[in-house]
């Protein structure tokens, strides 16, 4: 027969259950922002990366401007600008929108260089073979170049996604209820600092390790049937 816990202990346990629940709620928001941010980053990276390889100098110039602009300032500065200044210029953004857009465009700028580098690293023979087979430029990209290039992009994309995950912590500063924000709330309510912060540190580590594992699996899956010459 289990001895019932004292009233006080039960209360404390229930309280902490509530606080852990809060942090987990924040974790869900963190994951949501990471996924949405990665999608925006992926799109931006491909557009800008391919843009830098374009035949038209205007497209190249615009892509370079975007990349240097977003790599030139930190996520914090971009986020604050998007959240505080854009509404005053007529573009009202909710914290979530500001967060996803700032994170996505920032990481996308780094991703663009990866895209460009990977495509350029495809050996010339592949391009020549495409010409020999009379493939259009679109077919060449879609069926030959990109499948090989994407495999080479994956490791760095993995690192970029982890950077994005870590970047989501900054959205707590614009009152978005992510994991870091909730940890601050728990800290303010309980006065305990170590427990909430250690908890989220472990969770962030868990998430970033998961991303690494997923990327490695994806890499293996996509390099099936390829020459395996990529490094």
């Amino acid at each position: 027969m289990r001895r019932p816990l004292s009233n006080h202990t039960e209360q404390v346990l229930e309280q902490w259950q509530g606080y852990i629940g809060l942090i987990l709620q924040g974790a869900v928001v963190t994951i949501e922002i990471t996924i949405m941010g990665c999608i925006v980053a992926l799109i931006a990276a491909f557009i800008a990366g391919l843009g830098r390889l374009s035949r038209f100098w205007l497209v190249r110039w615009m892509a370079t401007a975007y990349i240097e602009f977003f790599r030139g300032t930190s996520i914090f500065v971009q986020l604050f600008w998007a959240y505080f200044v854009l509404p005053l210029l007529g573009v009202p953004l909710s914290p979530l929108q500001a967060g996803v857009i700032a994170l996505g465009l920032n990481i996308g700028a780094y991703g663009a260089e990866v895209v460009r580098g990977a495509i350029k690293s495809i050996p010339r023979e592949q391009y020549e073979a495409c010409t020999a087979l009379n493939l259009t430029r679109f077919q060449e990209m879609r069926h030959v170049i990109l499948p090989q290039a994407v495999v080479r992009m994956l490791p760095t994309f993995g690192n970029n996604s982890i950077e994005l995950l870590k970047g989501t912590a900054v959205v707590s500063l614009i009152s978005l209820s992510d994991m870091t924000f909730q940890a601050q709330v728990v800290r303010a309510q309980t006065g305990s600092t170590a427990v909430p912060f250690l908890t989220i540190l472990l969770l962030y580590f868990l998430f970033s390790s998961t991303i690494s594992t997923v990327i490695k699996r994806l890499e293996r899956h996509l390099s099936r049937g390829l020459d395996g010459t990529g490094t």
Binding site: E68, F69, R71, G72, T73, S74, F76, V77, Q78, F80, W81, F84, V85, L88, L89, G90, I162, K166, G167, T168, A169, V170, S172, L173, T180, A183, Q184, R187, T193, A194, F197, I200, L201, Y204, F205, S208, S209
Partner: protein
């Protein structure tokens, strides 16, 4: 949108105070990151598993978690354990520690690139481990890595606004203070962004020059 030029000029002195702290934090943080990173890299190569394993795990933990949370830890948790650091000290430590895990990777790549022959020759000529490191390995490993290390210097500079979250009065915090006081956000925030761009864009060109000088084969 109306840009208030008079206001922009009026707030420059206060923003400049923030810039001074930003530069201070960057330089101090870099010093920590560069030295600690080298120590980390050497420790991870240690034959003694009691050193290399824990150091490895510790570095992964720091690299895989947000700098902001690490700053909060140093600022809020340490006092409870009896260590009260000033905001700037905590910020510089956090910045340096976080980026030392990145520079450690750079050092590792550089050290790994040293041909095995160098190690063997050192052993053959009876050099101690200390002498091997200081006279043979490090002088050869570092120069090709300078562009990558300089890259992280710029990265740390751009990350200094995070220190605002632990009340350090660097540029971003000064800008927010100004904005809160005058109820005008456009000018201060934009000027902060422009300042970082004004430093980052030329530094990209400088970095390319460094690459050409120290690691020409990499282009």
């Amino acid at each position: 949108m109306e840009w208030d030029w008079e206001f922009s000029i009026q707030i420059l002195p206060q923003l400049w105070e923030g810039v001074k702290v930003t530069i201070q934090a960057t330089i101090l943080g870099t010093m920590i990151a560069m030295t600690l990173g080298l120590l980390l890299a050497i420790a991870r190569r240690s034959a003694n598993e009691w050193i290399s394993r824990p150091v490895g795990v510790f570095a992964e933990l720091i690299r895989g978690t947000p700098l902001l949370v690490q700053l909060y830890f140093l600022f809020y948790v340490l006092p409870d354990l009896g260590l009260l650091l000033s905001p700037l000290t905590a910020g510089v430590l956090g910045l340096g520690l976080h980026y030392s895990t990145y520079t450690a990777e750079v050092y590792r790549t550089g050290i790994d690139a040293i041909p095995k022959g160098q190690w063997e020759a050192s052993k053959a000529t009876n050099l101690s481990a200390n002498q091997t490191w200081t006279h043979i390995i490090i002088p050869q490993a570092i120069p090709p890595m300078i562009p990558a290390l300089a890259n992280y210097f710029v990265a740390m500079f751009k990350e200094t606004p995070l220190l605002a979250a632990i009340t350090v009065l660097e540029l971003m915090n000064q800008a927010r203070s100004v904005a809160n006081y005058h109820y005008k956000y456009v000018e201060p925030m934009t000027m902060v962004g422009l300042f970082f761009l004004a430093v980052s864009v030329p530094s990209v060109i400088l970095l390319r020059k460094l690459e050409a000088r120290f690691a020409p084969s990499n282009s």
